[in-house]
């Protein structure tokens, strides 16, 4: 399709926020690199009509290394026509321009949006974008995406480019040193197949040793040519101490610096801002650790646990039990005479009394509170700093600090977090992170219910938290020991601390609640229908009887079997069932801790399992599921015994 705008650029430069501005949709915007890990598409209304706009994960250079970079590049290669809107951070142009030059080398029609002009100005940086546009031979527009500044002009230019009113005849050409140039020509002459990128661009990626591209070339070319290409790469790598890939980066960067000469003027080196000072407090372990504990206590325990899962859930549940369900029962009774069919809606496990109530009264307020709290963290830029603080801890789990981003994201929703494991470098790390998410990271709904159930007994909260954390650490440590592969390395760009914008927080919270709600409601209703039908045919009772011994072994009353049956559908559904069971007074503190621990460690929900299946494959997913059921039960068993020994 010709009328397509592909948004591309380094991580965390404002691609998604521009996408939102252009399309009126909402792609998640957060202040850390690696927010977007999937392609998102929408439509923008330009003067020439509706145009497709595509948002992509961040890409440092055309030489893609991590999985999310590959997602972006694959898309770029399948959609060679259309216009590329490269978004760049005005403060770091010399680091952004190499990508521009590579895109131009690949003959793309590029429009460059130099974003975050407000931050550049605050740092005393002044940019002459007209000269830049002239030197590159492409349109360059300055923007402040958060305020929508420069957007009209950007749309105007995109529209002109789409109509072919702006010519791309004389754009900047990349040049390399004679040795590198000779290598590139040697490779290009051996590339005979048809590729999605022009030969000079492709040979640069081949010479740099891009794995995915090399694999493509190996499949497409004859053995003889492939050997010749390999020989060129090997010889070139031997010539430079850091390899030829580094040499290429140096040469492209030098050209970027050349282009930027006289364009970036530092008017004044301003005094340090509050952001800088606060940033040091968060990265210094002496102050960072207390800050982390405060964030966890106030954000997670007080706000999500006590307020969301306590106050809000109680109020909504009262509303349901005293008003909505009786009203629903009356209504159903007048419409449907048969008691059997009535029970489908308002019976013990009915659609309204169970499915809708769990979704609306229990899950939704908790997910809402958590999203609100977590969005604040995301938008301030705290997560990368947390990654830095916890890198050493993550290393003992076979992960690097970067993994703290998917792991904490999992406290919101494990399904989204499993997708975000794409930001990890190696398959080994992605597997470990996926496993830990499935085993020991409770999602917000589950976490909220459990926190509120246990919160009358602070000791129980502490015990449950320690056991789950211990299992997480042990599992990670074991995996690190057992899995072949090298220990991970940690390097991460730390974005500046930013003041969260309320509008983004609210929209993000709302969109997550909506997403969650639409995902759980059909499942919850489906479970109600399933149980209703299962009861009718005696299947439900049979399943419960099957589960009862396992539940009894955990020291739990037989009624708790239902909770675990629910848990098979979704962990949070199980937790919600626990809420009901506890409200009926059937559980002692020991029971509560045992059940909460087992359910936390229990199977991931169906959606998470589906994502796991897609990202890690069937073998890994089934293996993970099997291990998890056994581990959850075994730990629950141990906790129960230990607690009874302690006389509880």
């Amino acid at each position: 399709m010709k009328n397509r705008i592909l948004i591309l650029g380094n991580p965390n430069v404002g691609k998604s926020i521009l996408f939102n501005r252009l399309t009126g949709l909402y792609a998640t915007v957060s202040n850390y690199p690696g927010t977007t890990v999937e392609i998102a598409a929408g439509q923008a209304r330009l003067p020439c009509g509706l145009v497709e706009v595509v948002d992509t994960p961040g890409l440092y250079s055309l030489h893609a290394i991590t999985e999310e970079e590959r997602v972006a590049r694959r898309y770029l290669m399948t959609a060679p026509d259309g216009v590329i809107l490269q978004v760049a951070d005005a403060r770091n142009l010399s680091r952004m321009l190499p990508l521009t030059l590579q895109l131009l080398q690949a003959r793309f029609r590029v429009v460059l949006a130099v974003n975050m002009l407000d931050e550049a100005a605050r740092e005393g940086l002044s940019l002459n974008l007209d000269v830049l546009s002239h030197r590159l031979g492409i349109p360059v527009v300055g923007t402040i995406a958060t305020r929508g500044e420069g957007l009209d002009r950007l749309k105007e230019i995109l529209f002109q480019v789409l109509l072919g009113q702006i010519s791309y005849q004389k754009t900047y050409e990349l040049r390399f040193s004679p040795e590198v140039q000779a290598d590139l020509s040697a490779i290009a002459t051996n590339l005979k197949a048809v590729y999605p990128l022009p030969p000079d661009c492709l040979s640069t990626l081949v010479l740099a040793g891009d794995e995915e591209i090399l694999e493509l070339v190996r499949q497409q070319e004859s053995i003889l040519r492939w050997r010749k290409i390999k020989a060129v790469i090997t010889a070139a790598n031997a010539r430079y101490p850091c390899g030829v890939g580094y040499q290429l980066a140096i040469e492209v960067h030098a050209q970027a610096e050349q282009i930027l000469k006289g364009i970036c003027l530092r008017l004044a080196s301003r005094t340090r801002h509050w952001q800088n000072r606060l940033s040091r407090f968060t990265t210094n372990p002496l102050t960072g650790l207390p800050i982390l504990l405060a964030v966890l206590y106030f954000g997670l325990y007080r706000f999500v646990g006590r307020f969301g899962a306590g106050v809000l859930v109680d109020q909504l549940d009262i509303l349901f039990k005293n008003i909505l369900i009786p009203a629903g029962a009356n209504l159903v009774a007048t419409i449907i005479p048969s008691p059997l069919w009535q029970s489908l809606f308002v019976g013990e496990y009915g659609i309204i009394s169970l499915g809708v109530r769990y979704a609306v009264a229990i899950i939704l307020p908790i997910v809402g509170c958590f999203s609100f709290f977590f969005s604040l963290l995301e938008d301030s830029g705290y997560l990368p700093r947390l990654a830095m603080l916890t890198d050493r801890l993550c290393k003992s789990l076979g992960l690097n600090g970067r993994a703290i981003i998917p792991l904490t994201l999992g406290l919101g929703c494990d399904t989204m977090a499993t997708l975000t494991t794409r930001i990890l470098e190696t398959r080994r790390e992605r597997f470990i992170a996926t496993f830990l998410l499935a085993l020991a990271v409770p999602c917000s709904a589950q976490l909220g219910v459990i926190l509120s159930l246990l919160s009358p007994y602070p000791g129980a909260v502490l015990l449950w938290g320690s056991v789950v954390l211990l299992v997480l650490l042990l599992a990670g440590h074991l995996l690190d020991r057992l899995l072949p592969g090298s220990p991970p390395l940690f390097f991460l760009e730390i974005p500046p601390l930013r003041l969260p914008r309320l509008s983004n927080i609210l929209v993000k919270t709302f969109s997550r609640m909506q997403w969650y709600f639409l995902e759980v409601l059909p499942i919850f209703i489906g479970v109600s229908v399933f149980i209703w039908a299962g009861r009718f045919f005696g299947l439900f009772q049979a399943l419960l009887r099957l589960l009862e011994p396992a539940v009894k072994a955990l020291g739990l009353p037989p009624e708790a079997a239902v909770v675990f049956l629910f848990g098979f559908f979704r962990r949070d559904y199980g937790a919600a069932g626990l809420y009901d069971l506890a409200a009926s007074g059937a559980l002692s503190v020991r029971n509560l801790v045992t059940a909460a621990t087992t359910l936390t460690l229990f199977l991931p929900c169906i959606a998470q399992f589906a994502v796991m299946w897609k990202e890690r494959g069937p073998v890994a997913s089934l293996l993970i599921a099997g291990i998890i059921i056994l581990t959850a039960w075994a730990i629950g068993f141990a906790v129960n015994i230990l607690l009874s020994l302690a006389g509880l």
Binding site: R280, G401, F491, E493, I494
Partner: protein, 74 residues
């Protein structure tokens, strides 16, 4: 005026990047993409629990193993 690993730089000082010493091609390419390129000034901000450096307007967090690969010159 010899080059030495970043880990031997004192926190708070600025040096120039001399190069990367590593056999891990992916790491070299990744660091290059993050702007660790010869000649650029680099300021070491802190070293524990991870290394934090500033190159231009970019702040980078690195573990010790990665920091050891980066050679600087004063």
């Amino acid at each position: 005026m010899d080059q030495f690993p970043l880990t031997r730089l004192a926190p708070g000082t600025t040096a120039r990047i001399a190069g990367i010493r590593s056999t891990n091609g992916t790491l070299i390419n990744k660091l290059a993409a993050l702007g660790v390129l010869p000649g650029l000034p680099l300021t070491l901000i802190q070293t524990y629990p991870a290394y934090l450096v500033q190159i231009g307007q970019t702040e980078l967090a690195l573990d010790r193993e990665t920091a050891r690969c980066i050679e600087v010159i004063i």
